[in-house]
């Protein structure tokens, strides 16, 4: 568990943030200039806050009242930067083992394990200049992990990469989150990344924490979700692959009922996390007939919130929440109000494969 309380005044900008990051991946989300990187740098010890307290587990890293401020090299924190910051004069293997010189931790067995997990075995003797952006970022990730940090910081590690490179790294981040067992603080301004990776979301705005909580609750909260941008508003569903159908579909089991999506290349039983955008969900008051959409999920209106250009309807299906954005007229015509039983209609192809995350839970 990471606990952070920070106060620092810059010319024209005031940071006053406080939050907790439990196990798993905590996404620090906000617009550029909201203070996310400043928070991460203060946790890493690269910035000394005017006042504040930072602890990881029972270790105090910063405590302005007690005059405690550990320098970065004594914090045992892994930091993956936006630009990989690999050492150009060292090859990949030397980069990976750099922290080993100082911590004395990390054995040959660790190196092979991390190298295998990140798929970088074939580039060990190469120099960073000869690597692609995605490869560099994987090496940077490995370098941070091999210090055996008690906490991992990532400052928009994917922001400088194109979509193909992102898709290449995201599975590694999921594996790290689910298997490494260390808390991760992850700065992002991409709703898709947050929906796919986060366990906990901390929303930042103008140097303050404006909301914080578990990802599913945060992304389906009508008061919070629009902050991600109206087109990006969408709830997160957890599901499990139940069967691969012969006609190219994958049958998923969710607490809201079965769901059919185009073939997802993962074994039966794999846990998934789907982001269902509010603009892709239609609402029907009766079971629709003669309709191409494969997914009709029985649900109940939980609440309705007026948003620019329409109404954001939160539907409860099983123990999960789905968001749907419809026009005010549709809401009127359908006579929607909290408690009304409805059907949420979702086209199978509306869930983009890149947004589907794998999770152990």
């Amino acid at each position: 568990m990471l606990t952070v309380t920070l106060r620092h005044a810059f010319p024209g900008f005031q940071l006053d943030a406080s939050f907790q990051a439990p196990a798993g991946l905590t996404a620090l989300f906000g617009h550029s200039g909201s203070g996310k990187t400043t928070v991460v740098n203060a946790v890493a010890g690269l910035l000394r806050p005017q006042s504040g307290r930072v602890t990881v587990g029972d270790m105090v890293l910063t405590d302005s009242d007690a005059g405690v401020f550990l320098p970065p090299h004594r914090r045992g924190i892994g930091y993956v930067f936006q630009e990989a910051r690999l050492f150009p004069h060292l090859n990949v293997r030397q980069n990976l083992l750099y922290g080993h010189w100082f911590t004395g931790r990390g054995q040959q067995a660790d190196l092979s394990r991390v190298v295998e997990m990140l798929g970088i075995g074939h580039m060990l003797s190469r120099r960073p200049a000869a690597l692609s952006g995605g490869e560099r970022q994987r090496v940077a990730l490995g370098r941070a992990i091999l210090c055996h940090p008690r906490l991992l910081l990532m400052d928009e590690p994917l922001a400088a990469l194109d979509q193909a490179r992102k898709d290449e790294i995201l599975p590694y981040l999921e594996r790290l989150r689910d298997h490494a067992g260390l808390p991760i603080l992850y700065v992002s301004h991409s709703p898709a990344e947050v929906a796919r990776l986060a366990t906990t979301v901390v929303l930042m705005d103008k140097g303050r924490v404006s909301a914080a909580g578990p990802v599913a609750a945060m992304l389906s909260d009508p008061a919070v979700a629009p902050l991600f941008g109206m087109a990006e508003t969408g709830a997160v569903l957890t599901a499990r692959i139940e069967a691969q159908e012969p006609d190219g579909l994958t049958r998923l089991l969710t607490s809201a009922g079965p769901l059919f999506l185009p073939r997802i290349a993962a074994p039966v039983g794999t846990g998934l996390r789907l982001r269902i955008l509010a603009q892709d969900v239609m609402i029907a008051t009766a079971p629709p007939r003669g309709i191409s959409a494969l997914n009709v999920i029985p649900a109940q209106v939980h609440d309705m919130t007026a948003v620019p250009g329409g109404v954001l309807v939160r539907l409860q299906a099983g123990d999960q929440m789905i968001l749907s954005r419809i026009t005010a007229r549709s809401a009127d015509v359908l006579g929607l109000s909290p408690g009304v039983p409805v059907y949420a209609v979702l086209k199978a192809v509306s869930v983009a494969p890149g947004t589907i995350g794998v999770s152990r839970g």
């Binding site: 090299h73 910051r85 150009p88 004069h89 750099y98 922290g99 010189w101 100082f102 190469r126 200049a129």
Partner: protein
């Protein structure tokens, strides 16, 4: 060789090379330290230190030499103290090395400082998050990356030291075999009738050494830069 060059002239060439090598070798660690301090640290007196380092570049060399005589001469406030522990600089080749080192110092520091400023401090930050204490960050990240700059600075300083005349002749005079460096020898030959031929030969040697130093510097920096960048 001795047919073409008088023993006296040959002695001056060897002395100049010895003086310059010592001047560079002895001042290089301090040069790297000062360059690092000027490039990376903000402290009171930053401007003063910068000015002090550059002073020999803008002062008349004779003035620098005279100031050296005042401080490091046998009656000078440092020289007197050094004399007691058995070190005499004035009118010795070691004094010539000191004068050359001080005159070449600004060039050396400038080249190294440029190299340090070109190193991304973010790399040093990354090293510290990986557990490296400050001195180790310098030794394992900064130093390897600025090697080409150090090389350039050292060779520039060597060339400057080879050519130093004004401060040297003021501080340690022009004693053949003791303090008569290559430029002082050229000067001495020009003072005597019929010395032009000998002076011209020394001039030729000076040109060759200077050009060789420049080419070596270029070649070495490029080689090191290529090895560091891994291309």
């Amino acid at each position: 060789m001795t047919d073409w060059l008088t023993p006296e002239a040959w002695q001056a060439v060897r002395l100049s090379i010895r003086v310059s090598l010592w001047a560079v070798a002895a001042s290089l660690p301090l040069g790297v330290f000062v360059a690092y301090a000027l490039a990376r640290w903000r402290f009171p007196g930053h401007g003063l230190l910068n000015g002090l380092v550059h002073l020999p570049l803008v002062l008349p060399p004779v003035v620098t030499g005279y100031l050296l005589l005042l401080t490091f001469g046998r009656r000078g406030w440092i020289g007197e103290w050094l004399d007691q522990v058995g070190i005499v600089l004035a009118f010795r080749w070691t004094g010539a090395a000191l004068a050359a080192a001080i005159m070449a110092f600004p060039l050396m520091v400038r080249a190294i400082r440029l190299a340090i400023e070109a190193v991304d401090p973010k790399l040093e930050q990354a090293a510290s998050t990986l557990g490296a204490p400050r001195p180790w960050v310098f030794l394992t990240v900064t130093l390897p990356l600025i090697l080409p700059g150090i090389m350039t600075g050292a060779i520039l300083a060597f060339a400057k030291a080879m050519g130093e005349f004004g401060a040297t002749i003021t501080f340690v005079s022009n004693i053949p075999g003791q303090t008569q460096t290559l430029p002082s020898a050229i000067y001495a030959f020009l003072q005597v009738p019929g010395g032009e031929a000998a002076a011209a030969r020394l001039v030729l040697i000076a040109v060759v050494i200077a050009m060789a130093a420049l080419f070596l510097s270029e070649w070495l920096s490029r080689l090191i830069a290529r090895r560091i960048r891994g291309l």
